[in-house]
Symmetry: C2
Subunit: 714 residues, 2 copies
């Protein structure tokens, strides 16, 4: 069935299906027909039992406190902000506790809290902390949080609906929910019709409320935009915000945030209008988005922190608990999903959570299927993407990420062809993520810090080439949005997995081509990482390639010339002003190495180039008047003046230290004699020895059948 | 029974017991009579089974390789060094594998390896990497490692004794062990008779070998010194190296290292000469030493890293596996020891390990009994000590350590009245430990680095007072060895646990008195830390009090004046040259606070003094030409000129962030209005409010019955 046909069918269903809403309550995550089974499951299946007891504990804790519905006053992280956040969680928790326990006290608490909101809501003006150019809410400083509030609250209301009087329902609906619907669709008209995650939360809030209150007009607007013409609204968002592979252009951190309203609303649609077959929409786009969210994590559970991202975020996040539960229960029961469900340590107390907890209890879980893959970016899948290469078991996996995706709007970083490298359940070459102390009011109200623009987004904060100490596109979003990198090659050849991509617009007249590979040697336990960055330019430039690393320097082929008495910033702009220059060496040899001890393992990075390089040792922290920057260290390979330039590195993980038993193994790299033999527009060749055995690694950029050749030589 | 009487009895036993050595093999950790039970236990009890399989795996791995006995050449961490270390482990592992499996191949491998050593040993001169003023070995760069080699090897030999021919035994004993005994007692005469951990390893090696080879002459020397007069040797070491509470003057890191030869030799003595009642010696000193080693850890298993210490070291270390197994099996079967045995995840495959694994399998384990205690230092227990205060369960414990111990010889740091603070299973105010990359040859051969003297030992690297930017005793060990701090008070009064100690010799004419307490408020979940540092001097000085903290600064009562364009060292000597001055504020108010976010919790330190302070923000790393120093940050309270001075701080742990769920709780401290009301030689009084409720905290230094008073006031 082709795409256009499907859209037509969905549109037809929209109209024929409308009068047939299920009018039972509850009907979203928990459904009336399944309540008995879920209730029974909370006694039978450990994960569901544990999850329910946690919900009940929180509901009981809430009941032990008087209801607090303060007049909105504070920004993110402040007292009223946190209280209203707490309230929507309480409403949902009490709703669930009521359905499972049948105890009226929980329903009453929800009712009383909602009546308190209903008695005040219409008096609240736009939030006093609302910011210019940012849609303010009435409960929170931004409308986004009001939408989240409503998405949670309407579910709780749905669960206690039958337990409260018609009169109270009328008060709550007329004085709270209808005014909210009006606010979200009219006052927030622009956001409601935006193709953006704020828009998604808004349409989900409106659509789910429309279903529960039986207001088809609002559901229709939620699905197809204010004008009901399909140019905006939920379906248009599914069409435009995700690539065909389910990648969300802002990156994994925002992908998982955007995911929750997508899947919750989808579940509601599926329950109320199953004929819409929403989970099938756009070739099962939603399940692809859920799966790619999980594939965009490392084995420690953290999301790849590209673009603006809070670094501690893992797949344990509630959005992915919802996503995974629905993917397993409503779409396809893949046993490897259960592995992550176990690590999430909770399920949603719901029909879907029951299915997951039951399957786990029945021993169906299998290890999560981390795969190497190229994830396409762009609505049509033709705007670059992310290359992910993995090697080894989930217990000790090497993982390489190349970022060759589009800019990702305002949260995007200027880091074309950035490379991240993981091993041993942690970061080796890492991304700083965002500069933000989320929810911590003392740090600029918990918002993004000025250093997010001046540092975190800048090219030099990433493991990619900086030309003439300026960021890609001179850090202009509007320019960067126009272009995307292109995939050259992604694939596996024998024991070599390789990703290659180019970026030709980040600097005028400069073509950049990076090829990174994990290569298995017959003699080695772990793969080596071979990275080749080729730059072709119409004139001479300075080229800097930083490697932001974790761990501590323990060896080098040269003696670093350290600035011992004074530190100065590395530059004045584009993030260079935030870097202290700790050491600088002009090497006299073409090859060299640096060894880092990181989480008890050694990582030696050998490097070479056409001519000897400068190596700079860097640390983060200059020009940081509010002491907001996090510690970080890099070594930077630098070529002060060259036209064409190739940076070759081979990073070998070797040996270990055991501080408990005070032993050390294989503290020295086995790689020697790294040489760059050839590098031009058509391809490249390097050679090196491993434990004395010679190897050759050749790239042919235009030959897709023999793109990479890796051979042992005499 | 008094101490002298016991000494007399032991001495008598030494002479009457000698002719009655058990001449069975094996007879140390594994004994012939128990072999069947242990063998059976390796099938029955999970921890013993797992431990044995690990030993067997290593033995099998060794057997798959040819025997390598290289001519000694490399220093610590180098190839021959690591090979000889591996060999002694192999000898022991194969010995155990032989005893349990009865497979001759293991015995043969030990035999062949020992014959290889026997064929070479006498040709080896003093090790080429031996250092001046440091007793060199023949197998290793220092004799210490030769002793360790022998302690392990003789056990392995004891296990295969019956399985190898009398002729081979003769070769091994005459060409290897007897020359080693000669080397260790004659060439290393000074070390052998030293009251020092190197001496302990030496006498243990000699004594255990003497038992196994049935050479009473060597056993006697090991027990009572070369002259057999009791002035040196094992018993003298027990008498002099430990305090009556079982504290080893060099500190916990060396205590656990010293412990292994003590307990192994004790076990051998107990088996061969049970009438010596060695475990009873000096009022059960050895079990006190084992127990205090465990009490000198935090709940994450790490040893308090005072003095020279490698920071990752935990009670999982093999020395404490031996210690704990013997303490449980041979001395007293305390069920709380089993908790740590479970965390150690292994037992020694031995009679003692059997007892531990069996008890665990029978469910006898109880949580380890961490206690608050004053651990005395000094042979007579009158040379200061360590004050340890704990609060809360082992899962989430607050722990405060005050170091008021003697210098601890060459590994001691100049950190009188240093304070460490732990919470949430990690460090809050921490000690740098040693500056050393142990076993990493590229970092000065794995030895202590120059920065260990220039930085790690210096006072400013610790959380205690520095006067006039000079270290205690001007960092002279010989001076520092002459004096020790004195305990003023240690005890609990209601919900207040307090330790108070003084140091009057670190600076001429300056008396320092520090009183630190964990105080439980009825309104708070966690204790607050009240720290009061009183200095009384005959003239004016500069006083600096650094707090080396973990985490990230997120708030302060003042706006830090940050050095954004350039960093300079804080000083020129005594460790100040290694500190970058990041920010400096002269406050205009007497009180202030700093809030740090550390492992998802907030820690606010309120401070006050007689007059407004300077606050400096510091980081480690200046004058570090080899980039050897680890990252670290401090805030320093500073008084540029004062005669008498009191630094008062209250550190409150509050709230948390949850980055998975993006919530924050209690980001602001509840403490306000901290005031210093009185402070002089007789005592002090402060007041503050917690959530608006007023409290008063009073100290009376000379009143041991009402030393501390903590009251809520109107």
């Amino acid at each position: 069935m082709n795409y256009l046909k499907k859209v037509v069918i969905v549109l037809l269903c929209l109209f024929v299906g409308f009068e047939n809403y299920a009018q039972q309550h509850p009907s979203i995550m928990l459904t009336k027909a399944n309540i008995d089974a879920v209730r029974k499951g909370t006694n039978e299946y450990p994960l569901l039992k544990h999850s329910y007891l946690e919900v009940k504990k929180q509901a009981d804790a809430a009941l032990s406190q008087p209801i607090q519905v303060p007049v909105p006053a504070d920004g993110g992280g402040g007292v009223t902000h946190e209280q209203h956040k707490k309230n929507y969680n309480t409403i949902l928790n009490c709703g669930i506790a009521f359905q499972i326990s049948k105890e009226q006290k929980y329903a009453n608490y929800v009712k009383d809290m909602l009546l308190s909101y209903a008695s005040q809501y219409q008096k609240w003006p736009l939030h006093p902390k609302a910011k210019e150019n940012h849609q303010g809410g009435r409960i929170f400083w931004q409308a986004l949080n009001d939408c989240v509030w409503q998405v949670y609250t309407i579910q709780g209301y749905d669960m206690v609906y039958d337990a409260i009087s018609a009169k109270d329902r009328e008060t709550i609906e007329n004085k709270l929910f209808m005014p909210i619907l009006k606010f979200l669709t009219e006052d927030c008209y622009t956001t409601f019709n935006k193709i953006h995650n704020h828009g998604t939360w808004n349409v989900a809030a409106v659509g789910m409320t429309g279903y529960v209150l039986s207001k088809p007009h609002y559901v229709e607007m939620a699905l197809r935009g204010s004008k009901k013409d399909g140019k905006s609204g939920y379906l248009a968002q599914i069409d435009q915000l995700f690539s065909p592979d389910g990648y969300y252009m802002e990156g994994p951190y925002y992908q998982r945030y955007a995911l929750l309203p997508f899947v919750l609303f989808a579940k509601a649609i599926n329950n109320y209008q199953p004929n819409l077959k929403i989970f099938e929409y756009r070739d099962q786009l939603l399940v692809k988005a859920i799966n790619s969210s999980m594939q965009l994590t490392y084995t420690d559970g953290t999301f790849f922190p590209i673009n603006d991202a809070i670094k501690d975020k893992t797949y344990e996040t509630i959005e992915l608990v919802y996503g995974l539960n629905l993917a397993y229960a409503d779409i396809k029961a893949e046993p490897f999903l259960l592995d992550i469900a176990q690590r999430q340590k909770r399920v949603i107390v719901s029909d879907a959570g029951l299915a997951v907890a039951k399957a786990i209890a029945e021993g169906k879980s299998q290890p999560f299927n981390y795969v190497s893959q190229w994830i396409r970016d762009g609505g049509k899948g033709d705007e670059g993407g992310l290359g992910i290469i993995r090697s080894g078991s989930n217990e000790d996996q090497q993982c390489l990420l190349m970022k060759a995706a589009s800019q990702g709007m305002g949260h995007g970083h200027f880091d074309r062809l950035n490379m991240l490298y993981y091993d041993n359940n942690g970061e080796v070459f890492y991304d700083y993520g965002a500069s933000r102390f989320i929810n911590i009011e003392s740090k600029r109200g918990g918002h993004y810090l000025p250093e997010n623009n001046s540092w975190a987004k800048q090219t030099v904060a990433h493991n990619t080439i900086v030309v003439d100490q300026q960021s890609h596109f001179q850090a202009k979003v509007s320019e960067a949005e126009k272009y995307h990198p292109n995939l050259i090659y992604f694939g596996k050849d024998g024991d070599t997995q390789v990703v290659s991509a180019e970026e030709n617009n980040a600097y005028h007249g400069v073509n950049m081509l990076r090829t990174s590979a994990l290569v298995k040697l017959p003699e080695a336990n772990k793969d080596i990482l071979i990275d080749l960055f080729y730059i072709n330019s119409d004139k001479e430039h300075q080229y800097d390639l930083p490697f932001w690393y974790k761990g501590h320097l323990v060896g080098a082929s040269f003696t670093p010339k350290v600035f011992t008495k004074e530190l100065k910033p590395l530059g004045t702009d584009y993030g260079y002003q935030h870097i202290w220059l700790n050491a600088e060496n002009k090497l006299d040899k073409q090859t060299g190495f640096i060894t880092v001890l990181n989480n008890k393992r050694f990582y030696t990075t050998h490097f070479t180039s056409e001519t000897p390089l400068k190596v700079k040792m860097l640390s983060i922290g200059a020009n940081d008047p509010e002491m907001s920057l996090m510690e970080g260290k890099a070594f930077m390979l630098s070529q002060p003046k060259a036209q064409n330039q190739t940076f070759v590195t081979i990073t070998e993980v070797h040996g270990n230290i055991d501080p408990i038993n005070e032993t050390v193994e294989a503290a020295f790299s086995k790689i020697t004699d790294l040489k760059l033999i050839k590098s031009d527009k058509t391809g490249a060749e390097i050679s090196f020895k491993y434990s004395g055995k010679s190897y050759s690694y050749r790239l042919s950029y235009s030959d897709k059948t023999r793109f990479v050749q890796f051979l042992s030589t005499k």
